[in-house]
Amino acid sequence: MIAYLTFLRKNKDYLHLLGIKNPTNIISLQNLNLTSGQPVIVIIKDDLIISLYYINENGELFQSFGQIDYLFQSKNLLDFTYKNVRKYNYIRNILIYSFMMLSIEELDHYSEALEEIENTIFHNYLHLDIDLYRIKYGMIKLLNKSGLNSSIKERIIKGISKHKIHSRGLLKKKIDINLSGYLIKINSFVS
């Protein structure tokens, strides 16, 4: 039994846990509300996912797959987000900043389209070995092709172009996980 912290990659019927060979029963996760770029904890035993946990922004865990909380029995959590966390923080930071160019009403109205764009960006770039500036241009290209109306598109693209990372250190910020109550240690030294 091994516990992993990793990112999801999802596109319609395709689901993958970054850095891990797809377990036999990965299809069982299709009914869950998952999106590309989402960090999750999965526990795998004999090539089967036996538990999956959502992680909220405060690092709290919510088990959403499996009946037993196997994290209690795990000693190590292999952090597979380590390799991609800079890209994750960068994309998320840029998207939040650029989406803030829209009004609250627009964010409500276009929420599904924006979430689809977010999913596509994470799906296309998070797993790649790519420079951050190239991700930025890829995002602009994708938005230009999207079906959003031109005023919305223009403002989001302006936001992306204007966006600057104020602290490079922030990009290194690891995924927050609150493991209070568990005796598990995080092993981040995974290549």
């Binding site: 609250i104 690891k174 995080i186």
Partner: protein
């Protein structure tokens, strides 16, 4: 983390030690612009609230930053700490705060800058039966909070998409420009409608 704890304890004789601890708590809970008050336990210092609640949120940010500097910490140092280290440090800080109180009570007014937080200050002034005019101001703020958070139709409490997070930040920005500024605490009525609509 031991080094941070050491730096904190080295300042235990500092005249603002309690304030340093509170500022650190604000950072550890992601509320660095947060207003905070050290009330007398008997609730007789309403004037203290009236003097201090007029301060703007950015004044508190500056104050918290300068308090953090006393223990040789920069905001980024706290942000980059692993979650479990933050939790551990927070427990340490909370213990120190409790043991440094002398017939005082600390109230962190998270709601001043974040409408998604609990209104601890309002609960406190109700409990201590503050003057009706003070209660009126905070009652108005509380009603405004319910209205502004109704703008946020939360889809999932687990993972927030960037669009959801952007919307939440926009709502918080509106809120900060109303109740995060000192002048709002002198208002007789809410100005929320004008600003949101």
């Amino acid at each position: 983390m031991d080094l941070i704890k050491e730096n904190i304890l080295k300042q235990s004789e500092h005249k603002s030690f309690l304030e340093i601890l509170i500022a650190l708590k604000c950072y550890l809970t992601n509320n660095e612009e947060n207003a905070w008050y050290i009330f007398k336990e008997d609730g007789t210092d309403q004037a203290y609230l009236l003097t201090n609640h007029n301060l703007n949120f950015f004044s508190y940010k500056e104050k918290n930053d300068s308090l953090l500097a006393i223990i040789n910490l920069k905001p980024i140092d706290i942000i980059l700490l692993a979650k479990n280290t933050q939790i551990n440090l927070l427990e340490f800080i909370e213990d120190l705060i409790s043991s440094n109180l002398k017939n005082e009570i600390v109230i962190l007014d998270y709601l001043k800058t974040n409408p998604f937080q609990e209104d601890h200050l309002f609960n406190y002034i109700l409990e201590k039966e503050f003057h009706k005019n003070i209660i009126k101001i905070y009652s108005t703020r509380n009603i405004d909070k319910q209205r502004i958070i109704s703008l946020s139709k939360k889809k999932s409490k687990y993972y927030k998409s960037c669009a959801e997070k952007a919307k939440e930040l926009k709502i918080s920005d509106y809120w900060k420009n109303i109740w995060g500024l000192g002048m709002s605490y002198n208002l007789e009525k809410s100005i929320m409608d004008d600003l949101i609509l």
